[in-house]
């Protein structure tokens, strides 16, 4: 069997007495879209950041496409992995096109190749070409996060990590960006790991949902499998989306 794209083996991480991750193992294959779900402080973001080396585990091993992260130079590793997070973090002194082209630039791509790539990505995330010359401050929140996604994809990574990527957006934008990203994920055969506290979002976008609580993985499966779970904490997490769906059906009638 080929190596999984991402393999976490027996990861632990402790912050000043508080155990953020306790003996966590997880494997993610090519093409999988995994949602890490849990309450705040459950350790899901810590888990995500061990994948691109932003956080170094106390023990255990992280392997990316068969290579141990401990043996890789951190900044070189990160250039191979797309990273999208809630605050977006676009560089305000660079244009949209320059923001998109930043990782390719760090990788030494020439200017012409970066320009072509920025234009492709603007199309890919459904932004008009003329936006490439603008500065981030001139864009709406949704547009900024589209640029954030484009920046993450610019250097053609196989893996994209997302930390509450759509959390700060209005519901409509959130919905369309989520759908658009899911389409990109399939088209580019990515492995995506998305941290969210919103179970509904996880159910709608992910192939596989991993539930994190107190630094441990308490459930791991497809949305259907999770729905059948008898685990009380998992059931509690699913209760809210279920109730919402029922209420919506009741209020909107058959069409919902």
């Amino acid at each position: 069997m080929a190596d999984p794209r991402i393999a976490l083996e027996r990861i632990t991480k402790t912050y000043g007495g508080h155990q953020a991750l306790a003996d966590v193992s997880l494997q993610i294959a090519a093409g999988e879209f995994v949602a890490l779900v849990g309450a705040s402080g459950s350790g899901k973001t810590t888990l995500l950041k061990t994948i691109n080396g932003l956080i170094k585990p106390d023990s255990g091993e992280v392997r990316i496409e068969g290579e141990s992260v401990g043996d890789l130079t951190p900044h070189l590793l990160r250039r191979r992995i797309g990273y999208v997070f809630q605050e977006v973090g676009l560089f305000p002194h660079l244009t949209v096109a320059e923001n998109i082209g930043i990782t390719p630039k760090l990788l030494g791509w020439d200017k012409a190749r970066r320009a072509v790539r920025a234009a492709e990505l603007l199309d890919l995330v459904a932004l008009p070409q003329e936006m490439g010359g603008r500065f981030p401050a001139a864009l709406s929140g949704g547009q900024q996060q589209r640029v954030g996604v484009a920046r993450a994809l610019a250097a053609e990574p196989h893996i994209v990590l997302m930390d509450e990527p759509f959390g700060a957006l209005d519901p409509l934008t959130r919905d369309s960006l989520g759908d658009d990203y899911r389409a990109l994920h399939e088209r580019l055969n990515l492995s995506t790991v998305m941290v969210t506290h919103d179970m509904t979002e996880a159910l709608l976008l992910a192939d596989r949902i991993v539930v994190v609580a107190d630094g441990r993985l308490i459930a791991d499966g497809t949305p259907q499998a999770l729905a059948a779970s008898t685990e009380p904490e998992v059931a509690a997490l699913l209760a809210a989306p279920r109730r919402q769906a029922e209420r919506l059906r009741a209020r909107l009638g058959e069409t919902a």
């Binding site: 990160r78 997070f85 605050e87 305000p92 760090l106």
Partner: protein, 517 residues
């Protein structure tokens, strides 16, 4: 244009050039040191406090004192380097001024740099890490560009401070726009003082505006605006420095002068005589009393005039008073043995410390001597020049006569005379060759106990010029040639309020009167 202003303009290219060279070098050096410090302080909070506190501490030292402190420090370092490496350097002039101003420029740059880097939002730092930047790339491509407007604001503040403080480098022997201010203050030439202040303020304003363009350019990401500002600064520096290509070459003879009119006049006179014999002469004016002798002994100066009593007390640390001739003789042998300095001879007059009072007041109180003064001192106020109360002469007369003044005040000499004529003080520390004694109707008080040492004006020659035939030939005719009356007149022609002469004019007129030209 009045001749005074015309004369001031004539010296502007040289003064401005040095001022710009000094300020720009200090600011450049300050940036080179401060930026890495700011980066380090922003990275590590353990060094942040010491760095910022240190920079603030430097700022609390009065800038004049900071400049003055570098002279003895450099003297020690220079001596050590000469011992160890066989190579010494100048402890006077450009170097102490540069180092002091560099330190002075650091606080705003370090503080704004640290704040600027720390205020880059955490999300952007996270993004920089996430896209795979190294710490160095993060600094150069993200943090510094984003902090640039704040850093530039700090550079602007530093530039204005540095240009202003550079005027204070005149007393350590570095030519600057401060030469107008210090000479003007000494000779009560307020036009000159205003001219110096105006020139320095104008320079600071223009620099501030040009740096402002760079700051605005950085903030609005407007490369064109920043480029115009940078080009303006660069062109300004180049244009200002062109006169130095001719002024800057080392003159063959450096003539020193302390900070009062008699010294300016005598220095001008000596410089002119050196030039008459085909030498090139350059003046270093407004030197502190203690600095001048050390500068001569270490070869910074080639020649200057000092006073036997001053050297006796301050250089040889002697408190006794064996009499005028003995002091002069012993001084000549001691200075030659100790430092290799040649006492060429006395100019022929004394400029002794003498306590002086208004004629009418002295008569009314029946005071003729220091003994009389001591009896009445409980009800009187004493004014001294800035150094008098710290000098051994004060200790000597105080011990000999036992004064008990109601109050003591220190003045810059010009204002000291104003204070005694207006009655703010009753008695002052004057100099016997000062033209203002007669002009202001003052009397000098007798010193029956001979507590004050003699003060013959003597010409001192630096060790490495002792055998310089041209220099000696130029200066020998001055020995014994100047009477106290002639010197008093010359001094007064510079110090008086109307029909003031410039020191160079007074020097020429004195030469003519004495038949030395």
């Amino acid at each position: 244009m009045s001749p005074q202003v015309e004369a001031a303009f004539a010296r502007l290219p040289e003064y401005l050039a040095w001022h710009v060279l000094l300020s720009a070098s200090a600011l450049g050096l300050g940036l080179l040191i401060s930026l890495p410090l700011a980066v380090a302080a922003s990275r590590n909070r353990h060094i942040r406090w010491p760095v910022l506190a240190g920079a603030s501490l430097i700022q609390t030292i009065p800038s004049l004192a900071l400049l003055a402190l570098f002279f003895p420090l450099l003297l020690v370092i220079s001596a050590a380097s000469e011992d160890l490496l066989g190579y010494g350097f100048s402890a006077l002039g450009f170097l102490p001024a540069l180092l002091a101003l560099t330190l002075y420029s650091m606080l705003p740059i370090v503080r704004n740099g640290t704040t600027g880097i720390l205020s880059v939002s955490p999300a952007i730092i996270q993004a920089a890490e996430g896209v795979g930047m190294t710490p160095r790339q993060r600094l150069l491509q993200v943090e510094l560009p984003l902090a640039a407007p704040v850093i530039m604001a700090g550079v602007r503040t530093a530039a204005v401070w540095t240009i202003g403080a550079a005027t204070l480098s005149t007393p350590v022997g570095q030519t600057s726009l401060g030469n107008y201010i210090f000479s003007g203050l000494q000779t009560e030439n307020w036009v000159l003082v205003l001219f110096g202040c105006g020139a320095s303020a104008l320079l600071a304003m223009v620099t501030d505006q040009l740096l402002g363009l760079i700051e605005a350019g950085a903030a609005k990401r407007d490369i064109r605006r920043a480029a115009i500002g940078a080009a303006g600064i660069l062109i300004g520096i180049i244009v200002a420095l062109t006169p130095l290509i001719s002024f800057g070459k080392p003159a063959s003879y450096v003539v020193g002068a302390k900070n009062f009119s008699e010294q300016y006049i005598l220095a001008e006179m000596m410089a002119e005589r050196i030039e008459d014999l085909g030498g090139e002469a350059r003046m270093k004016e407004d030197l502190g009393s203690a600095i001048a002798y050390r500068a001569l002994a270490s070869g910074e100066l080639d020649v200057y005039v000092d006073y036997s009593g001053t050297l006796w007390a301050n250089v040889l640390n002697r408190e006794d008073n064996p009499g005028r001739e003995a002091v002069l003789e012993e001084l000549t042998t001691e200075l030659a043995e100790r430092d290799g300095v040649l006492v060429l001879g006395s100019l022929g007059f004394e400029n002794a410390y003498a306590l002086a009072m208004r004629q009418d007041r002295a008569t009314a109180l029946g005071i003729e001597s220091l003994d009389d003064l001591a009896r009445r001192s409980g009800g009187l106020t004493m004014g001294g020049d800035l150094e008098f109360f710290a000098r051994p002469e004060w200790t000597a007369i105080n011990e000999a006569y036992g004064f008990d003044f109601r109050a003591r005040r220190s003045y810059q000499p010009t204002f000291m005379f104003r204070a005694v004529t207006s009655g703010d003080v009753d008695v002052i520390s004057a100099f016997s060759s000062d033209g203002r004694i007669a002009a202001d109707n003052l009397v000098t008080l007798a010193d029956p106990r001979q507590a004050l040492p003699p003060y013959d004006a003597v010409v001192l020659i630096a060790p490495d010029r002792v055998n310089d035939a041209r220099l000696l030939a130029a200066l020998r005719p001055l020995i014994g040639a100047i009477s106290v009356e002639a010197m008093r007149d010359a001094n007064y022609s510079v110090d008086r309020d109307v029909d003031k002469l410039r020191p160079v004019e007074a020097a020429r007129s004195l030469s003519q009167t004495l038949g030395l030209d």
